[in-house]
Symmetry: C2
Subunit: 219 residues, 2 copies
DNA sequence: CCAAAAGTGTTAGTGATACACCCATGT
DNA sequence: ACATGGGTGTATCACTAACACTTTTGG
């Protein structure tokens, strides 16, 4: 192979969203090595020699959050010259969604403990991770309205109001209750349980769940 | 940087579509070196050391077709183990559209002359280029209905019927004439010239053109 | 006057949006 | 009885899809 090996590094980054404290949050680690020591960055790391890209993303994610068996969506790569001062680094970002209760965050070797940050109040970020996040957020919103991925955010059983809150948090806008419920009903992703949620001084809410927890596109 | 350099190769591939002989065609080169000697493949090549990804795609494209200043859209990277027997190769494919009359195809060093192939009748392809093409075609169709990219396929002046034919060819389905024209009118991308096209024994057609030849998203 | 493609409007259906009241419960 | 969130239906609007006839030209 004429040409250009031993010049490139290939990494995967995970853009992990969750909903916590009624806010859309993203998982960031604080870098403890240069470059960008002390800055926040997306969790990620090098792709190993005999490892597929998605497997690498899954591995990194499991190392840092303990979560596995998750739906990941590949985003477009970032690889311009100068995005990493150490050399030529191409990164393939993956979008991941998790339910906040599922996880316990871990520290890793070149990162401090991973922490959740509100998407609307992010710290200074290392590399071009701000652009990657912007792209991922666009993608997340698109998917939310064109698939059943919201199941990734939700617990086993939830009320329709809780689901609507999740949508509103992600889209960052209010939705009409009746239209939302109508839409969910006709999409047919949900099943309703006999149980109800009794809590507070008001009418108890019907519990719902996703029929199958696999990615399904609308259309 | 602890870790994994000198194991990766990074390439860009161009998925170039055009309309020729009333068919949607894609540009392929016939490989004259191993691996996959004699198979067809997407034009592409290695990203140079100090070269941005999109610049690399533009350079490859210009080398093989002579076309420049073209809108390119980055697609998701392919980089699984084993996709190239020579080593670990990550490729970033770019979608490109050109008007068939604009180009003269060139031969390159490790490829024979580039040729157009009907999208619905492709030969055996090298690597995982069949999957890349599938993805690119999906993206092309999406963009066609959500932007003004069709301008890339069209000459300076054209009739609405010609434009409709282009849409039909790409989408591989028939469209209603009145609805199509109404849609084009209200999108407002087009301008109409005073001139008409006189050709054949029938009413002459009004000529149209794109107001500005820059990518514009609908919405 | 015939053939061939250009050009043009209306109707019906479907999905999105906007909107207001009654229900079941705990206190 | 009241406060709280749960639950429901209808009218309007915008967009899409279906559909047929007249016009202009060359031969």
């Amino acid at each position: 192979m004429q040409s250009n090996a031993d010049k490139y590094f290939v990494t995967v980054d995970a853009v992990v969203f969750t909903i916590l404290d009624k806010q859309l949050k993203i998982l960031l680690i604080k870098r403890k090595n240069d470059p960008f020591r002390g800055s926040y960055a997306l969790p990620g790391g090098f792709v190993e020699e005999k490892e597929n890209l998605e497997d690498a993303a899954k591995r990194e994610l499991e190392e840092e959050t303990g979560v596995k068996n998750i739906y990941l969506k590949k985003l477009v790569a970032f690889g311009n010259v100068g995005r990493d001062p150490r050399g030529r680094v191409i990164t393939i970002p993956y979008l991941a969604l998790i339910a906040a209760d599922d996880i316990k965050l871990h520290a890793t070797t070149d990162a401090e403990l991973a922490k959740w940050h509100s998407v609307y109040d992010l710290p200074k970020l290392a590399f071009d991770h701000d652009k990657i996040i912007e792209e991922a957020l666009r993608e997340l919103r698109f998917e939310l309205e064109h698939s059943n991925i919201a199941y990734q955010f939700m617990p086993e059983k939830f009320t329709l109001t809780e689901l609507q809150k999740a949508y509103e948090t992600i889209l960052n806008k209010g939705l009409d209750k009746r239209n939302f419920r109508k839409k969910m009903k006709e999409l047919g992703f949900l099943t309703s349980y006999r149980e109800r949620k009794m809590e507070g001084a008001h009418r108890p809410a019907q519990l719902h769940g996703y029929k199958d927890k696999r990615y399904r596109r609308i259309g």
